[in-house]
């Protein structure tokens, strides 16, 4: 049985302009030891679906799912109190902006030890020792001194390392990293990704990496799930996805990578992700898709079998078509 299994997750926000569907029927399955990347443009519902899993969305969000289970526990049935015993301990999360994700009023040590105190019955001394151990594990030099540092005394990379130490404090079975490197320098990005990968291998935890950077995906992930406008449009192992994307959106994303460009001008995807008020009737990608026809524009696409990348498309691309698309 999968460690995390989410089926048909939808999240709706009630806004002044009516309900807005940020996540629309998304499935996520992760096994122990998996590294799953969730890729998509801004507004594709990547973060929101994971926040829904963590229970971090505001009360204005309406979350529905056919299944949402973690290690055999149905998360939908847990009370708020029971869920708080799972998140932070078995499932933990790190965020995009490390500099603002740490509380400026408390030391790094306090914030790491707080997690330990919340979930593990450790005494003061054990918490201190564990905090130092964690700081060493995430590669923070001079941990004894850094424990007493306030967030404003730490660099972005250091802050993200503290966040990772905090997330790993209780040896989680699943770590969700929400664009962990977006706000960091390129050199630091690589370090943090290496660190996450190394820690994942060492602890055997599952890792969900939310990103919009295909380069990060190629380097880190084992499996990739592409989201568009709140829907999962394709899912494949990373190598297969890069070789034979089945959904036109994935193909277009890959074609837009600078390292894959064959012409002087970098190909782009025309248009923008549909918002609350311009949601197309049929396939959500149809207004921007070069293969779209009337069927695409008027009827929602079926979900293709795993051989075709579970693509949500009327006319999934096969190898030949991909070649033609290039």
């Amino acid at each position: 049985m999968a460690l995390l299994s989410i089926r048909n997750l939808s999240v709706e926000f009630s806004t002044a302009g009516g309900p807005f569907r940020a996540v629309d029927g998304v499935d996520v399955t992760v096994d122990t030891g998996d590294i799953l990347a969730i890729v998509g443009e801004s507004g594709s519902g990547k973060s929101v679906s994971m926040m829904a899993l963590m229970g971090l969305l505001p009360w204005t969000a309406r979350i529905t799912a056919d299944e949402m289970s973690f290690d055999g526990t149905d998360l939908r049935r847990l009370t708020a109190r029971q869920r708080r015993q799972v998140i932070g301990r078995d499932i933990s999360m790190i965020f995009q902006e490390p500099m603002t994700s740490l509380n400026p009023c408390f030391t790094a040590g306090f914030q790491i030890k707080e997690t330990l105190r919340q979930h593990l019955k450790l005494d003061r001394r054990a918490r201190h020792a564990r905090a130092i151990e964690l700081m060493e594990m995430v590669g923070i030099p001079d941990p004894e001194r850094r424990l007493n540092a306030f967030p404003h005394q730490l660099s972005g990379g250091m802050s993200q390392r503290v966040m990772i130490a905090m997330a790993l404090a209780c040896q989680p079975r699943l770590l969700i990293a929400d664009e962990p490197t977006t706000a960091l320098d390129v050199t630091i990005q690589a370090q943090i990704l290496d660190l996450l990968q190394g820690l994942q291998q060492r602890t055997g935890m599952a890792l969900i990496l939310i990103t919009h950077d295909m380069g990060v995906v190629a380097e880190t992930a084992q499996r990739v799930q592409v989201q568009y406008a709140g829907q999962k449009v394709e899912e494949q192992p990373v190598r297969a996805l890069f070789e034979t994307p089945h959904h036109p959106y994935t193909a277009a994303l890959l074609a837009a990578l600078p390292e894959r460009a064959t012409e002087r001008r970098l190909p782009t995807i025309p248009g923008v992700v549909p918002g609350q008020f311009d949601r197309p009737e049929g396939c959500l990608f149809s207004p921007r898709c070069r293969f779209a026809d009337d069927t695409c524009r008027h009827s929602p696409p079926p979900v293709q079998p795993p051989a075709l990348g579970i693509a949500r498309c009327h006319y999934p691309l096969d190898t030949a078509a991909t070649e033609a698309a290039r």
Binding site: L56, R89, F95, S101, L102, N103, P104, E114, H152
Partner: protein
């Protein structure tokens, strides 16, 4: 820290000069003559009038009078009251403890109720509790304080008979002023029931005086909390699986505290300057009432000295608030 402290102390100097100048000018700009006021309805002869003018130094040019006043202050001499013939310094410190006692009780009530109320309102933004609390706070803030005081007296002292109407302690008890604080003195006296009586007398005036600061603190806490609750680190705290009360009461409140401490500091300053209406209604022998009486009597030294001492107290409170910023927020400490 010490450097910061000394630098702040240095800024007291121009403030002090400003306050002496303003208080000196302010009381003299008011029409009326202290000698005439002192003479009362009987009046006095022209010769006697000139004699007194000379005695008080009013025949000198204003600049000379100001200079005499300044040199007096620098020697620690605030002058004598024209009316009571007692040093201003002694009078102030005989009355000041009463004001401090009342203000402290009021501000403690305001803080203990205002901050939790603001936090709860912010967490339940837009829900019933939030709306109810914020409209109550608005009513509290805009209510005429004398009317509110009278209302409370009528209900709790008059109809229900739970609290005394005025004064600091029951006439049954007598003991010497050791500290000037009735709560402490009554305890020290060891007389049975004295402390309870002092507390009874404090309740209503404290509530009345706490009303406006309470409303201001609650609203300020709410708005500061609303801002902080949207921050990334609050999401982090929640992602750790912390209980909501710890997330809002510790992680959010600590960050929201700076503006709240600022308004608390300002309120304390205002309260220390004497709650004139409250002190008058409850016959509370504090400095607010004393200052107003002195202005009516054109008692120049009392008004000048009193204003100066009150300004000094307010400056000290502000200094404490500034030092508190650093304690609350480590980022400010560094500067």
């Amino acid at each position: 820290m010490l450097k910061f402290f000394l630098a702040r102390l240095l800024t007291f100097v121009p403030t002090f000069i400003g306050v002496t100048l303003i208080s000196f000018a302010f009381i003299r700009v008011l029409p009326g003559d202290p000698i005439i006021v002192m003479a009362g309805e009987r009046g006095l002869s022209e010769a006697r009038y000139q004699e007194l003018r000379e005695q008080f130094g009013f025949d000198q040019p204003l600049i000379v009078q100001f200079w005499d006043y300044l040199t007096g202050i620098l020697h620690g001499n605030l002058g004598m009251s024209y009316v009571t013939k007692k040093p201003v310094w002694d009078e102030f410190f005989a009355l000041f403890p009463a004001t401090v006692e009342l203000s402290l009780c009021a501000i403690v009530i305001a803080i203990c109720l205002g901050i939790p109320a603001g936090v709860i309102a912010a967490v339940n933004r837009g829900k019933f509790f939030d709306r109810a609390l914020m409209s109550t706070a608005l009513v509290g803030y805009s209510m005429p304080i004398f009317w509110w005081a009278l209302l409370l007296i009528i209900v709790f002292s008059g109809n229900l008979g739970w609290t005394p109407v005025s004064g600091r302690i029951d006439l049954l008890y007598y003991f010497p002023d050791t500290t000037g604080f009735m709560l402490i003195d009554s305890l020290l006296s060891g007389q049975k029931g004295a402390f309870a009586s002092a507390v009874d007398h404090l309740i209503l005036p404290s509530i009345v005086l706490a009303t406006i600061p309470l409303a201001v603190i609650a609203r300020q806490t709410r708005s500061a909390m609303l801002e902080v609750l949207g921050e990334d680190y609050i999401r982090t705290a929640r992602a750790k699986g912390l209980a909501p009360i710890r997330v809002s009461g510790l992680h959010a409140l600590r960050n929201a505290l700076i503006p709240v401490v600022t308004v608390i500091g300002l309120s304390v300053g205002v309260l220390l300057a004497g709650a004139i209406l409250t002190e008058t209604i409850f016959s509370w022998p504090g400095i607010g009432k004393w200052m107003v009486d002195s202005i009516y009597r054109r008692d120049y030294p009392v008004v000048q000295g009193g204003l100066l001492l009150i300004a000094g107290m307010v400056m000290i409170v502000n200094l404490i608030v500034d030092l508190l910023y650093g304690v609350i927020n480590p980022k400010i400490r560094k500067r």
